[in-house]
Amino acid sequence: MKPFRTLGSKLTVAVGAIALVTIAAFAAFNSRSDNRNLLAEVERHANQLSEAVKSSTEYDMLLNERERIHESIKRMGNQESIQRIRILNKAGQIIYSSDTAEIGTSVDKKAEACTLCHSADKPLERLEITDRTRVYRVHPDSARTLGIINPIYNSRTCSSAACHAHPASQKVLGVLDVTLPLAEVDKAIRQGEVEVVLLALGAFVTLILIIGLLVRRWVALPVRRLVEATRHVAGGDLNYVIPDERGDELGMLARSFNNMTQRLSEARLQLVQSDKLASLGRLAAGVAHEINNPLTGVLTYSSFLQKRTKDQPEVQEDLKVIVRETIRCREIVKSLLDFARQSVPKKGQAAINDIIARAAAVVENQLALNHVKLVQELGTEVPPVTVDANQMQQVFINLFVNASDAIGPDAGGGTITVTTSQLKLSPIGITQIKQAQCPKRHSLVNAEVRIDGKPSIRVRARAEGHEGFIYRDPMYGLARHQFGIAPEPGMDVQVTCPECSSSLNVHGSPCPDCGAATFQFEVPGKGFVEGCTNRACTWQRWAELERLGDRDFVEIRVRDTGSGIARDELPRIFEPFYSTKGQKGTGLGLAVIWGIIDNHNGAITVESEVGEGTTFIIRIPVEP
């Protein structure tokens, strides 16, 4: 995986970018506000200083002690934190200055410091402190300087003084100009800025690390586990389980994924099983026929010899063994045939509770010997089902005996609980179309092309000169059709019965999903099934079935407190000849059960926990 392609890195980068912008904006705002506060502080300080200079020289000015004023200003101006102090008169001439060289020179009224008051024709007399300050550089390379001007106003003591009295009409006598170097302040500002940037960077990196870690832990790892699981499943390992069981959405996804693979595994098992049983049935029938003929030779001749050698005891003994063992072979072949024989159940209405009770009565003694208790929790509202009562009884007897064996004689007893209940399930995806016919009652069911082991429904399709068969999936709701021709939507497709060529098209009723031509066939007594001729379209409708809604099922659970079945053994237990009982079992019991339930359009599943016990769940449709 490339970096920045993964969900985790994308999330981290996105969150990081947002954090970076936010932190940068905050740092910039913070730094600017700091600068402003610092400068305001310097201004306030400069103003105080200038007021101090003004009041300390005021008395000398009244007395017109020029030397003293010079001295004071010079001393104050030579302090390190002060760049320069000067007093200008109204005409702009520098009267006093800490820099003695410029005394007597004039400043341009249009210069920066003066324009604040002198830009208008009549000079202003009052100014706010912020308007009286200015920040400038003497040279572009030099440090910044802050200047503050402080107007010196006329007062009564001034205008009435005997010395050189200013006229009373004159409001502003001159200006005190104090300039402070900002080098220190600028240094502090720069340092502050560096600190803020470093702090922001630190915060950003920490945030990225934490987010990356959390995203990795909460998102990337669970997602990687899911991806890993899908790879396993794609590779055919349907028993793979995602170990993490967390409470969040990804945990839910993992759980439903596990659930899905379990269902898939069950479905696959049933399909494989269905195929295997069908071929085993054929095999058993063939084997029975082939083996029984030579066995007849052996049995007839050996028993015949036995009859004729009654006077030869030593030969009798040997022949007895041959006859006995041949009869044993006969029984084995017979059980194989019984196994293959499940194809035609003799179905009738029966109460499943009665069948269970009868099966329980048959195994009662055997269970009692093992100290196994059989608890029947039979639902009172369970409707009668259409089943082969005999076969179903065999199913329960086998399950009870299996459960008893799983508990074993050494466990000191155990419990088998059998419960029955009714439940509703959607018919879509679990209903097999077993009969299909054209308007002239020719069967469309084709046993040669099977879809998942079940005979398909074959129709002939003709479109623009091409002709081929469409094999429809017999499981209604699952669209695993096989197309021998691929008509496009919009083509004029004729669908006919392969036998009599009568039309199956539904004219004037295009597919609601893709607009292609549709066709229908009849399921005798159960209405019509409509389908689409477009290979890519899965639309189908069986109005009669869908009108009936969810189907009623009877569910039977047989739970034991036995040793349980190991997880890796679970998928195989319904396979013929798979036995965990060693010499004791033939390995046909559960395969027989599976076949019987399948023949009843039902399903059998198993849940097991080693050391806890096993539960077999059987579902039989109430309507056949």
Partner: protein, 270 residues
């Protein structure tokens, strides 16, 4: 028809035909063999056989087609069917298709001899009835019939079934089957609780000749009660096979299905 032989065995397996020839030959019976149904049918045109032992699963013409051809010819030679596909369905189908008996393969010499002896006695009864019918001018349909009560049902000519109001059925053996046995010596019955299957053996009747005869059960279900009186006094079966001589009360698991394969005794009375 020029000659009469005892037995024709029709089977495409050499080992079967030779085994039947050997076993039945030792019993003093004359046996012909045919390797397929067509050959067997041809032989039956040339030779009169008292009994035919015929396989079901044969290439080209199978055992059921063989029976159908005999029915078309109105040839009433009794036929015993046998097959390696010894399922109960095949047994019931064979009996309903006109065979008098069904012997599942593989069989022992005694099982074969028992079936053949029964078949030959059946043939003799048939011949006697034909002679009587010829004398009285009755229709050849009713050559051999089972005089079971009208409300009873029968499986072939061997066993009967009578429904009871409680939902259980009574099961027994027909008088005709008894007539095809040597004098009855003993009866071995299954136990209550045991399962019986239509078409499979449910009781063993042993004749004076020591041969054991299995009785095909007419119904599938569980035995509720066995008539133990029969084991002590087997003669009741011969004396009164339809009432006192009943064998089991059975709780059928699928009576309506089983009834389809049985013949109503009322249909025997025309």
């Amino acid at each position: 028809m020029t000659t009469t032989r005892d037995i024709l065995v029709v089977d495409d397996e050499d080992v079967i035909t030779s085994a039947v020839e050997r076993v039945c030959g030792a019993e003093g019976l004359s046996v012909d063999a045919a390797a397929n149904a067509t050959d067997g049918l041809a032989r039956m045109l040339r030779t009169t056989y008292r009994l035919v032992v015929c396989d079901v699963m044969m290439t080209e013409v199978d055992g059921f087609a063989f029976l159908a051809e005999l029915a078309r010819r109105q040839d009433r030679t009794p036929v015993i069917m046998s097959t390696g596909m010894s399922t109960m369905e095949n047994a019931v189908r064979a009996v309903n298709s006109g065979a008098i008996d069904f012997v599942p393969k593989p069989f022992t010499a005694d099982e074969l001899i028992a079936a053949v002896r029964r078949g030959l006695r059946y043939a003799r009864l048939q011949a006697d009835a034909t002679a009587m019918a010829g004398a009285h001018g009755t229709r050849p349909d009713s050559l051999v019939w089972v005089p079971c009560p009208a409300q009873y049902y029968r499986l072939g000519y061997a066993s009967w079934l009578a429904t009871e109001r409680t939902g259980s059925v009574k099961v027994g053996v027909t008088d005709l089957f008894m007539k095809t046995l040597d004098t009855l010596q003993s009866i071995h019955l299954a136990e209550p609780g045991d399962e019986v299957v239509q078409g499979a053996s449910c009781a063993t009747l042993t004749g004076a000749d020591g041969l054991e005869h299995g009785l095909m059960c007419p119904v599938t279900g569980h035995i509720l009660e066995a008539n133990d009186a029969l084991v002590k006094a087997p003669t009741a079966v011969e004396r009164d096979p339809y009432f006192e001589g009943w064998m089991y009360r059975v709780l059928p698991s699928e009576l309506q299905y089983d009834l389809k394969h049985l013949t109503a005794c009322s249909s025997d009375r025309m």
